[in-house]
């Protein structure tokens, strides 16, 4: 059984009245959405001149992310495919304008006028074919192409997303690049399974200083003590091509921890004076099931 909502039903079915209400009545979800939106706005790197900008919220849902935009003083237009989610946004009296629309059909917006776009946990939905007429590649192309056109030169788009696997991440990124965007993936807290969050940061226009991918959080070892690669600033952003992390080659234990990780952890516990069993060839091996 998968817990990924994308695999259960199309978004306009999954996010029905019941789910939409659950969404905003759960303080856990509200908190997470606010945190993700705050970080996405930060990565948008709008000029710090106090002038309110006009932003898009793609997959705006119940307007939790939009509220973060409003709190930061900006105007926004939200697009979502689920009427139930938008109805909750109406009830919450969010400040932005709401549009019922499907990003996979392309955004119908005049060119070059929008100052930036954010999207929280929505774009991975495009990778599914929910109807016989859906071709994910065409939908990704329509979406990124239209987004590129409606943004102003140098404007950014930041997508927080949960790709299902590397292939999906690469697919999404490749269509963004094909549309003309520059940028990459920022992974905050890459070593923490709970806090790990992934953002696609795109800039409209040719690569320049402003298109350099921003730095990720939690890569400096301060919050994840089992991190080796601290120090070098260049290394703080984990980029898209996850090839540097040979997942398959490493032996994973049940919880997905590698032998190297376990050895390091044990060493650390030892240095704290804890009693730790000696290392052996069995260390970090998966236990056989007993009957």
């Amino acid at each position: 059984m998968s817990s990924r909502p994308e695999l259960q039903a199309p978004p306009e079915i999954f996010y029905d009245d019941v789910e939409a209400r659950k969404y905003t009545s759960s303080s856990r979800i509200v908190g997470i959405q606010a945190e993700l939106s705050e970080r996405a706005l930060e990565l948008l790197a709008l000029p710090d001149d106090g002038i309110p900008r006009l932003l898009l919220d793609i997959g705006c849902g119940s307007g939790l992310s939009g509220e973060t935009i409003s709190e930061n003083g900006h105007q926004w237009i939200g697009l979502d495919i689920s009427r139930s989610m938008l109805d909750v946004a109406l009830e919450r009296e969010t400040d932005g304008d709401l549009i019922l629309g499907d990003m996979g059909q392309g955004l119908g917006l005049r060119p070059g006028l929008i100052d930036g776009a954010i999207s929280i946990s929505a774009v991975q939905w495009l990778c599914n074919a929910d109807k016989s007429c859906h071709e994910p590649r065409l939908r990704l192309k329509a979406f990124f192409g239209s987004l590129y056109r409606c943004l102003g030169r140098g404007a950014r788009a930041v997508f927080q997303l949960y790709p299902e696997n590397n292939a999906q991440r690469e697919l999404i990124l490749s269509f963004a690049m094909r549309a003309g965007f520059a940028g990459g993936v920022v992974i905050d807290y890459p070593h923490s399974s709970k806090k790990r969050k992934e953002y696609l940061v795109l800039t409209c226009g040719p690569p320049s200083l402003s298109t350099a991918t921003p730095r990720a959080k939690g890569e400096d070892g301060s919050s994840c003590s089992d991190d080796e690669s601290s120090g070098d600033e260049e290394n703080q952003t984990v980029c898209i091509s996850d090839r540097h992390r040979p997942r398959k080659k490493q032996k994973l234990t049940k919880k997905g921890k590698t032998r190297a990780w376990v050895l390091k952890k044990k060493e650390k516990m030892r240095s704290k004076g804890n009693v730790v069993p000696p290392d052996s060839k069995y260390t970090a091996r998966k236990r056989k099931a007993h009957f």
């Binding site: 105007q75 549009i99 059909q105 005049r110």
Partner: protein, 123 residues
């Protein structure tokens, strides 16, 4: 939906070349007060399609904007900025429709939300 958004939206139907501006059918218009921010207005002024805004504002029952694109020196006038502000941000199309200028396709607006979902054969 405010006229700010109307001024950005265009018809996205396959084959349509000029889908802007969408014609407004206004059944119900409401006004909601928004904080006045001259910086935002000045920033938006150069992006707004003036004629579309002035026409839309008229249809929504507020014929106070000049028909022709005003000189940007008007941005120093408080009176002008307040009218611009009211038209752009405080008038909401609550019930009605947006109509594609090329094909006549109606996009209904309910409770302030335009339904821009396309049919399969329009994509």
């Amino acid at each position: 939906m405010r006229l700010l958004t109307h001024n950005m939206l265009s018809s996205n139907i396959k084959g349509v070349i000029n889908g802007f501006p969408l014609r407004i059918e206004a059944e119900r218009v409401v006004e909601k007060q928004v904080d006045f921010n001259p910086d935002f207005l000045k920033n938006m002024f150069s992006k707004i399609d003036w004629k579309a805004l002035a026409d839309a504002s008229k249809i929504m029952g507020y014929p106070e904007l000049p028909d022709e694109l005003p000189d940007s020196s008007l941005l120093d006038s408080d009176e002008f900025l307040h009218k611009f502000h009211h038209a752009l941000l405080e008038l909401h199309l609550e019930e009605g429709a947006l109509v594609c200028p090329e094909t006549g396709r109606r996009f209904p607006v309910n409770k302030g939300i335009p339904n821009m979902l396309l049919h399969e054969d329009e994509v």
